[in-house]
């Protein structure tokens, strides 16, 4: 007889979130998680938060650089151009 995988509790389910979203969970863990999510609104909300956080991370764009930093690098560029 094939043993059924043990059901997940929320505390363990959240630890699978990142791999689940990246599609890198084993098939067995994916099934266990999906089974849990089907019955758990809170973990579904957690996963949605995680998904939204990753999406937002991809839209934050580069930090603003100070004008001093940009000026320093542009001067480097000018120096390089005049030397070469």
């Amino acid at each position: 007889m094939k043993l059924l995988p043990s059901p997940l509790v929320c505390r363990d389910a959240v630890e699978l979130a990142s791999d689940y979203l990246d599609g890198t969970l084993s098939r067995r863990d994916r099934r266990r998680l999906e089974k849990h999510l089907a019955q758990c609104d809170a973990c579904t909300a957690y996963l949605d938060q995680m998904r939204a956080t990753i999406a937002a991370s991809g839209t934050v764009g580069p930090e603003d650089l100070s004008s001093d930093v940009i000026e320093g690098l542009v001067n480097l560029f000018r120096q390089y151009r005049s030397d070469n």
């Binding site: 509790v9 959240v14 990142s18 909300a45 938060q49 991809g58 580069p62 940009i70 542009v74």
Partner: protein, 199 residues
């Protein structure tokens, strides 16, 4: 303009194309460098050297990888060399095996006692909300190493896990664990910020 167009202009000596590439990538170069070297000022030096290497090498860049990948690889190689000279040890996650969600949010059976409140709708409909994006950015900036470098490369810059593995010299499994912990921390900080300010 996309990177390829900027690169084309840079080849023609266009200063504004250079400035735009600097705006786009200098902050990430600093983060990659900071992962390997001992101080912020060393990271500045590495990032600056990277731009010089770009100017020197741009004519030989054949476009087999994206400009971003090429640039970050130059930076990582230089930073790695500097880090070795400084005897800097590669940062390890100090809490690598602990839970990513506070134990007090679960009951004794492991089920939520303080469940998360969905904020997907708020993010989806107000993606350009400066306060929310500010919270995400602050959260990423406040991550310790190695989480900051991994989350920045994977989620902010959109690199693949394999590219992050190559750039940071970590194993695939390590990148996944660090990414998981970093993302969980960012989510937690954003959740707190949203609770506090009702973004």
């Amino acid at each position: 303009m996309d990177d390829a167009e900027l690169l084309e202009s840079l080849l023609g000596g266009d200063e504004s194309a250079f400035t735009e590439l600097v705006r786009r990538y200098h902050p990430t170069l600093l983060k990659v460098a900071r992962y390997y070297v001992a101080s912020a000022s060393s990271a500045e030096d590495v990032a600056q050297d990277t731009w010089i290497a770009v100017l020197k090498g741009i004519e030989r860049f054949e476009g087999r990888s994206s400009f971003k990948t090429w640039l970050l690889r130059i930076c990582a190689n230089r930073a790695r060399t500097s880090g070795v000279k400084e005897h800097r040890s590669i940062p390890v996650d100090p809490n690598e095996s602990g839970p990513t969600v506070s134990a007090h949010r679960f009951d004794q059976g492991g089920f939520w006692s303080d469940p998360p409140v969905p904020f997907t709708d708020a993010i989806d409909t107000r993606l350009d909300n400066a306060a929310l994006l500010g919270a995400v950015r602050d959260a990423i900036d406040n991550l310790g190493e190695p989480q900051q470098a991994v989350v920045t490369l994977r989620d902010v810059e959109g690199l693949t896990t394999q590219e992050v593995v190559t750039l940071l010299g970590l194993s695939d499994a390590n990148v996944r664990v660090i990414l998981h912990r970093g993302r969980a921390r960012v989510r937690e900080i954003v959740e707190e910020a949203m609770k506090g300010s009702k973004i």
